[in-house]
Symmetry: C2
Subunit: 674 residues, 2 copies
């Protein structure tokens, strides 16, 4: 154990010490009761958190959803008891002492890691390391954007982050740091809990990076302080707020301060030894029973929790002084509601497309849709991970979001798919903006941790994934998705759209932009596709997930089910089969999840028992059997045209022929099954 | 265009200029003929590559698999024509001028991005940015490890990397840089192609990181040079080799040097304009027809290609001077062949386990297996992304791999799942070592880009993924995999094992360690599991992917198919069903891919038509329908017990009950189907 003079800490700031130790005691008690969790981090960062929440954080514990509050992001999410202790102490209505006692139990709001959907006071779900700090960049972007558009009187707050060594070792943190530095996100303040300990031992066994130099290399304002000195903490936060760059405050701390496990990797985990707990409390000078906070300390904390109430009231007055139209618009954007015009705009576009029947790639279709949607949805913030011209994510009216043009709505994320996805999650969580961003679909892999967190956090981030198959062509198998539709479809609470043409693309965007709690993945083609929805329907057919695009003529002997670029192949196969008198229905299935949500009667109408079934998708079969052999299908009457290996490097049409994803192959499979 | 005095470049080093321009001309010709690709990067980095390959790289073009060659990794894989041009120029037997002419066409070895399995001269598959630089860390670790064990006379080579801005923006590069710096990988040299251009425009629109400072912060030796000055390049490489830290050489270059697209984002892509090509060649002073290299220049390059022949011969003599036993062992390890003892060791352990029938978590089973395998497989290099005690990846005999203990075989990777996975790929590609490494299965997401590349590259990396379900318990849904089995199963050329007990775990390891071209994922439980293989069988039953673990008594009315921790639940369900007179077979299915590979007759024996089928796996159903409703199954006679949402934070047993993954639920489903 590195010696620390705890008596001196107590003596120098006796009141602060006891207030901070309230956090320590709650963390120790809750983890011990749960017999699992992470005790040391809340103990080590209690001083920083106490100064931050009592002196700097702008919030009102009675109004955790106040739009102009400062955001607090516990990137080191395993230290969740730090957050729960703070919320309980300041008087949050949901995180009661019973919840703290119920830490990590079924149904509790105090889950093992913070989960934003369990309590309003929890800004985001963290635990997978590096995600919090990366989402914080999105929070800060949202704030800058809204401040530029609405003025400082409506939006003017900070984003505070506590990150540990794990967060900084995760690669995504570099993407976040570099993006924040480039964008000069001056309202972002990151505290690095520099305790020198990870699970496997000292940080030094796996890392010797000079973190302050690393942040400085990306344009951050950097300070290094004793993380147990409240005056130093206070001064550092003040300096951070005064600087127009993002700030990193390196806080030298002792994990599990005062406990027998202090400064050890054991201190990272659950400290459950009863005698050691008694001893630690003795060292801290804490005499209250478990889960009890002396009234004086609790009321001081509650005062800190209501410190922002008057500021909030003033903010509400300022908002009430806005024009009625502006107030309505602000409320709509904050609620994440789509404007009424969205539906009519999409309908008008669909009608025009069904008439003009363009043959374009669906990535281009997506751009055509965004060109009409972005002007009526001022809350959208688009972007791309350095593939703007390929992802077709930029529309004419957006302008560039930059440090000198904060009203711009297009972010050049750089080659940072993961950082982009996490930042978009942060924006969606912040509220008031609606993020979408593009990359090649194959790089779903890079963005995965954040894409999963979008689903888990119940937020409507939109991932624009272009070049969605071997149709990508010559760039070859490193860039050709095969398993990525399955990956996103396997993820709970995720809508995966693979539209067949511009009409379905418009329908997909309409659905994506009306979600409030579910992310969407748009899988879009590189190659040109014919318009298959040539008959205008005002109804959003994609909202049913799958529908009959072309009915069988004569006796229905076969059903071909296809998505995206393969719908045209299915139609060609149908034509060939019909020519031979084989009645064939074509079902377009742009969204399996939405189809699965339909009632049995509808699903049965689309996929009745009887006819042979052939699925067509230039991707792996995994996930298709449900529709081929399940849902009234039969194993000996079903087949699939798709990929069972990685792709190859060649022109797209040659690859389709080489891998046998053709109308001829589909026809043969149908005939073999009849 | 930033003005460059190309005449001065030519005049100062006229011979060098023409040799380097041979690369430029080939890149320009090949991309133009393919009408796709990336012209500018090979043009910009031709000078660096020329100096490196002709003056420093230890290689013999006639022996591309020489074990002690220097490795060249084109992390900026889109610049593949740089590598193909070099290989052709030095006389590689596979990359002929016809292959260069056939760039990016079906069946060519000259794919859009370098693919290691197409030609021996290609060390690894790159293109997904950041992967090459991250794999290079593994190459360098392998070399250090082998040098320590075999001596400098057998292994003493360098790993050279060309990385672009995209590589350095990708987060994984930070994991690689920090790991290499910490490990003082002095034989690793990274050239940063500092051309200031990405696809979306100037690097400065998305990044202003001071890369030299960033590398220096992680303990790298850093130099900054003019990347078109052959003397500066030569001196920098010499200095890099002399330094005992990993080296980064920042090379200021001009993308598409001398072309109309120089220094623009257009120069990044395919330059196909015929007149501009003529003009560029004019600027370069290049008069040879397309795809032709003047004899003098070609023979100079071929001389560079055979420069290492004598060194290789001396190396072969030194190896031949080793004892016969050592030569055999070296050959075995380089060939990636498992020792004969592996099979008997696994059999002995299985026998002992079937007798003692321990109830342990399969992560612990995995440790028990490794404890007996590691001593007989000296080529293994284990590790964990900071979860050693949880992943159970460390065995007693390994020792720590570190800068002062290179013979150690355990790497503390830090909280870097992605960097670990990529480094392991690099080790596997290097050869002579067999890497495995652990993290929580949920963090498959972080490692995904490298896990996919393991499969695509045909290498046997082993991913030890513990805490493979809601059985993880209190850490909650951020740490509980639901879709991750499906993710890995959807990936081509990947074996996904979910062993039910220690016997199956031993079988899985035996299969994983005998693979030569396929990565394995071991999904292991956190929670204790009973031994289900209580009857010893010398045969590796897991190698068939699935097998009958318990036969129905009486008329076979039901088949329960389960994996991993749910096999014991299936057995309990069977017992309850048998007690009611319902004959029930239990099929353990530790590896779906291997089962799919069995012949129809075997699959039919295991999964005959007729009985109802219920699958049990604490994960999403996606991927299961193939075995439930396909394979002679029927949609109305099949059901699944598993997850259809994210998990929750609570003790494991409560979660199993809460989500209905119980023997009772399985029994009910069977009865409902009968």
């Amino acid at each position: 154990m590195i010696p620390v003079d705890i008596d001196a800490l107590k003596a120098n700031h006796p009141e602060h010490w006891m207030r901070a130790t309230a956090i320590r005691a709650l963390a120790l008690d809750a983890v011990a009761k749960a017999n699992s969790g992470h005790t040391g981090m809340p103990i080590g960062m209690a001083d920083v958190a106490t100064v931050l929440w009592s002196k700097h954080m702008k919030f009102d514990a009675a109004a955790p959803e106040w739009a102009d509050r400062d955001r607090f992001i516990l990137s080191a999410g395993h230290g969740s008891m730090l957050l729960y202790a703070l919320l309980y102490l300041v008087g949050d209505a949901e995180i009661t002492i019973d919840e703290v006692r119920n830490f990590r139990q079924l149904g509790a709001k105090t889950a093992g890691h913070p989960e934003n959907f369990l309590a309003k006071g929890i800004e985001c779900t963290t635990g997978p390391l590096g995600q919090g700090i990366s989402m914080s960049v999105g929070f800060a972007i949202a704030e800058e954007s809204l401040r530029a558009r609405w003025g400082k009187k409506v939006f003017d707050h900070h984003t505070y982050v506590i990150a540990g060594d794990g967060c900084l070792m995760e690669g995504v943190s570099q993407e976040a740091i570099a993006l924040a530095g480039r964008q000069k996100l001056g309202h972002l303040v990151v505290f690095w809990d520099n305790n020198g300990i990870t699970i496997d031992g000292k940080v030094s066994i796996s890392d010797n990076t000079n973190q302050p130099e690393r942040f400085a290399a990306s344009g951050w304002h950097v300070q290094e302080i004793d993380g147990h000195d409240p005056e130093a903490i206070d001064a550092a936060i003040a300096a951070a707020k005064a600087d127009d760059r993002p700030s990193m405050i390196a806080c030298k701390t002792h994990i599990a301060l005062g406990h027998a496990a202090q400064d050890t990797s054991k201190g990272h985990g659950a400290l459950t030894d009863a005698q050691q707990a008694i001893d630690a409390k003795g060292v801290w000078g804490w005499t209250a029973p478990a889960f009890e906070i002396p009234a004086e300390i609790k009321s001081w904390w509650e005062e800190a929790g209501s410190r922002g109430a008057s500021e909030r009231k003033e903010w509400e007055d300022r908002v009430a002084a806005l024009s009625e139209a502006k107030q309505k618009e602000l409320a709509r954007m904050l609620a994440g509601e789509a404007p009424k015009k969205l539906s009519s705009t999409v309908k008008a576009l669909k009608k025009q497309i069904s008439e003009s029947q363009p043959k374009v790639a669906t990535r281009k279709s997506s751009e055509m849709v965004l060109e009409v949607i972005n002007p009526i949805l001022p809350e959208t913030i688009g972007g791309s991970a350095d593939l703007t011209g390929s992802n077709n994510t930029l529309t004419k009216d957006l302008g560039t979001f930059d440090f000198d043009s904060r009203k711009g709505r297009y972010v050049y994320y750089g080659i940072r798919e993961h950082g982009m996805a996490a930042a978009m999650n942060g924006m969606a969580l912040h509220g008031g903006v609606r993020p979408y961003g593009g990359t090649f679909m194959c790089f779903t892999d890079f963005a995965r941790p954040a894409m999963r967190l979008a689903a888990l956090q119940h937020i409507p981030t939109v991932f624009v994934m272009t070049h969605d198959s071997i149709g990508l062509g010559e760039d070859g198998p490193t860039h050709q998705p095969v398993e990525h539709l399955a990956i996103s479809r396997a993820t709970p609470n995720t809508l995966v759209f693979r539209p067949a043409d511009t009409v379905e693309t418009a329908e997909a965007w309409e659905i994506a932009f009306t979600q409030s709690a579910t992310p969407s993945v748009l899988a879009l083609s590189r190659q040109n596709l014919p318009t298959v929805r040539t008959e205008h329907k005002t109804k959003n057919l994609s909202a049913q997930g799958a529908y009959v695009l072309a009915e069988a003529e004569g006796k229905r002997q076969a059903i071909m089910i296809a998505t995206g670029s393969e719908v045209a192949i299915a139609l060609a196969a149908r034509e060939a089969l019909q020519a031979e008198g084989i009645g064939t229905r074509v079902v377009s299935m742009p969204c399996m999840e939405l189809f699965a949500d339909q009632d049995e009667a509808y699903r049965k109408r689309v996929l009745p028992a009887g006819p042979v079934r052939v699925g067509i998708e230039a991707a792996c079969r995994l996930g298709w059997d449900r529709w081929l052999t399940g849902e009234r299908g039969r194993a000996n009457k079903a087949d699939f045209v798709g990929m069972d290996s990685f792709g190859a490097s060649a022109p797209a049409e040659e690859l389709y022929a080489h891998f046998g994803i053709t109308a001829e192959a589909a026809v043969e499979k149908v005939k073999a099954l009849l």
